[in-house]
Symmetry: C2
Subunit: 414 residues, 2 copies
Amino acid sequence: MTQLPDRTHAAALDVADPLAGYRARFAVPPGVLYFDGNSLGPPVVGAADALAAVVRDQWGRELVGAWNSCGWIDLARKVAAAIAPLIGACADEVAVADSTSVNLFKVLAAGLALDPSRKVILGERENFPTDLYIAQGLADLLGGGVSLRLVDRGDLEAALDEDVAILMLTQVDFRTGERHDLDAWTARAHARGALMVWDLAHSAGAFPVDLARCDADFAVGCGYKYLNGGPGAPSFVFAARRLHGRLRSPLWGWMGHAEPFAFATAYRPAEGALQFQVGTPPILSLAALELGVAAIAEIGVQRLWAKSCALTSLFLELVEPACAAHGLELASPRDPQRRGSQVSLRHPQGYAIVQALAARGVVGDFRAPDILRFGFAPAYLRFVDVRDAVRILDEVMADRSWDQPHFHQRRKVT
Amino acid sequence: MTQLPDRTHAAALDVADPLAGYRARFAVPPGVLYFDGNSLGPPVVGAADALAAVVRDQWGRELVGAWNSCGWIDLARKVAAAIAPLIGACADEVAVADSTSVNLFKVLAAGLALDPSRKVILGERENFPTDLYIAQGLADLLGGGVSLRLVDRGDLEAALDEDVAILMLTQVDFRTGERHDLDAWTARAHARGALMVWDLAHSAGAFPVDLARCDADFAVGCGYKYLNGGPGAPSFVFAARRLHGRLRSPLWGWMGHAEPFAFATAYRPAEGALQFQVGTPPILSLAALELGVAAIAEIGVQRLWAKSCALTSLFLELVEPACAAHGLELASPRDPQRRGSQVSLRHPQGYAIVQALAARGVVGDFRAPDILRFGFAPAYLRFVDVRDAVRILDEVMADRSWDQPHFHQRRKVT
C-alpha cells in the first residue's frame, strides 16, 4: 500500500471550494465516487419532477396546444441560446437537434459544399469512432473523389495540404484527454485554405471554449456529458455567422425551413444555424437538457475549469506514487492546459481494474486497449472524492482484487 | 341549427364498445374532445411517473451504469420489436432512431445506392412538406442527375417510368386523409423496376399495415401520433429483409456499427435495420415511446381500425347535414377503406373555425388553405365525443362565433 496523506487536506480544499455548494444541485448517489461525468453527467436535482411535470401538466393537459402554450416550438432555440455563451458563440450560430453524429454529418457536408474543388476530410486515426464513421459514410455517399484521410496526430500538419477541404478534430481526445489548441489548429487549417470542424464533445461545459476567438467554421458537441442533459440528449451544432449566407445543410427538414408552418412545397432554409433543425424536436429530452445546461451556465465555465485544474492536480499528486508502485502509467499530459477535464492511466489489465473499482464505488471508464479513464466534472466532484478514489485504487491494485474472473467478463457497454 | 339525434345513440355505442375501457389508460383532460391525436397523441396514464422513475431511479441512481443495468443499450431495439408487428414487419427489419425526416433521408439514400442507373425520386406534390424537403436536399447533395419529380396524385402512374429509382408516398394524406393502396402502389413500383418507400406517419397505430404482404422495400413512420410516444418521439424505419445484405445507410454512426464498443477505426454495419441506428439513443424519449407503443400493441390494430370505422361513420352521419347547412364540404373519401383514421372538411374560414372549436373544447387541426382536420384516435375517443363535437361545430357555424377577430390571429404552430 502506498502512503497517502490523510483526508484532512482534501477536506480543507472542499471547505474552501467556492463551487462546493453546487454539488447539492446534482443527483450523485451516496457512496458513489463518480469519475464518469464525461460519459454521462448526472441529472440535476429536480429533473425527475420537472420531467414528470412536462408530461403531466404540459403534454397531458395541453396536448398538441403545448407547442404554443408551453413554448415547445421555441425550446430548441432557447437551449441553443443557453449553450452559445459556453462555447463562445452567438445564439444564431448554434442549434440544438439530433445526435452529435448526425450533426457532424450536417457540418461536414455543408463544409464540402462550400468549396467543391477540395475533396479531402483530414482527421486523426485516434478520433472517436463515430466521427470517423460519419465521415467515411459521407465520402461513400458523395463519391466523386471525396475521401477521409486519417493520420496519426504527429502527422496532421504535414497532411494538411491543398487537397484538404476540412480539418476535423475532436478537441479533447476521448482516451488520453489530450487537448488540441483550438486557436492554433484553426489558424493552421485556414492558412492552408481548409475549413475547421471541431467536435467539442468533451469540452463544452468543462472549460471555456471560444469559437469566436479561434474563428472556427463549424463545431458539434454533446449534451449528455458535461452538460448533464441525460442519456442520448440532443446535441448542439455551430456554424460561424460569416458562413450563414452560403450555408447548406444536407438534411432539409421542415423545422429548418424559414416558414415551417407555411407547408410550402419548396425548401427555403431558415437563417443561421436554425437550418440545422430537421424533424420535430424531442421535447422530453430537450426539457432535461435545458435543466443541465442552466445549472452549468449558472456556475460558469471559468470557475468550472479552475476547479477542474485543482481537482486533477490533487489527483496527480496522490495517484502518481500509487502508479509507480503498481505498474500504472500516466496516459494524459501532466499540464492541465494540455488536456480536458480528465486524467487517464494505462494498465494491461485496465478493464478488470475499472470493474473492480466500480465494485468499490469508484466509477471510471475503460477504453481499449488499456486506458483507465477518470473524468473530473467540477460541478459536483469533491476533493475528498479524489482522495478516496486514489485510496481505493491503491487498495485494489495492492490486493489484486481485480484479478477475480468476474471482473474480466465484458459487458455490452464498456 | 341542424337537427341532431339525441345523445342516447352515441352513449349506447360507447356502452357496447369493446375498447371503451382503454380510454382510462390515456391522459385526455376532462372537457377536451380530442380530434388531434393524429398530430400528437396523449400520454398514457402513468407516463409522468414512469419518466420520473427513469430519471430518478435509473439515470440518477445508476448513472452511466444504467446503459447495462437498466437495459438502455437495448431499449431502441426493444421498442422497434414492439412496433414491428403493428406494421407487418419482423423485428430485425425495424429500427427506432432519430426523426422521421432523418430516417427518410437514410432510406432514400439507401434506395438510390441500390441501383445507381436510376436517378429519380418520384413523389406527390401534396405530400407532407418535410418529405419533399428531405428528398430535395438529398438530390442537391448527391448531384449527378439525381432529382425529385413531383406530380399530382392523378399523374403518378404515368410518371412512374424507367428513370424512377424510388416511388416515395405517404400512405395517408395529411390534409384529406385519403389513403393510398399499399399493395397496389408497391406492385406498380416494382413492375416498373422502382423501389417503394412508404411514409406511415398517419398509419402506424391507427390501422393494420402489412409491409410483408405488400413487399415494400423501405418505410418510415412517426412515434408521436397514433403511437402516443410524446412530442418529437423517435421515429421508426423499416428495410425489407431481402435487402439487408446490400443495405447501405448514408449515416454511419457508432450505434449502427456491428460492434460499437470495439471502437474500431473502420465502419462495419450491424446486420439488418440496426444499421439505421446512428448516435447515442435518446433514452428519455424512448422510454415514453415504449409506453405508448405498448398500449397500442395491447389493444391491437385490428380492433383499433374497427372502432375507427365506427367512429368516422357516426361522424359522417351526423356532420353531413351540418355541412350542408353551413357551407362545409367533405374533403375526405366517404369509404373508410379509402382513408386513414381521419375526416377532413373544407371551409374558406377553416383556420378561424378550428380556433373557435378549440375555444369550445373541440381540438382539431387546420391545414392550409382550407382544411379542418379531425383525427379519430380509436384508443381513447368516445362515440359521445363525436356526437358532442358535431353539436359544437354546428353551434359554432350557426352563431358565427368563429367570426371574431382573435380567432383569425395566426399562432406559431397552426
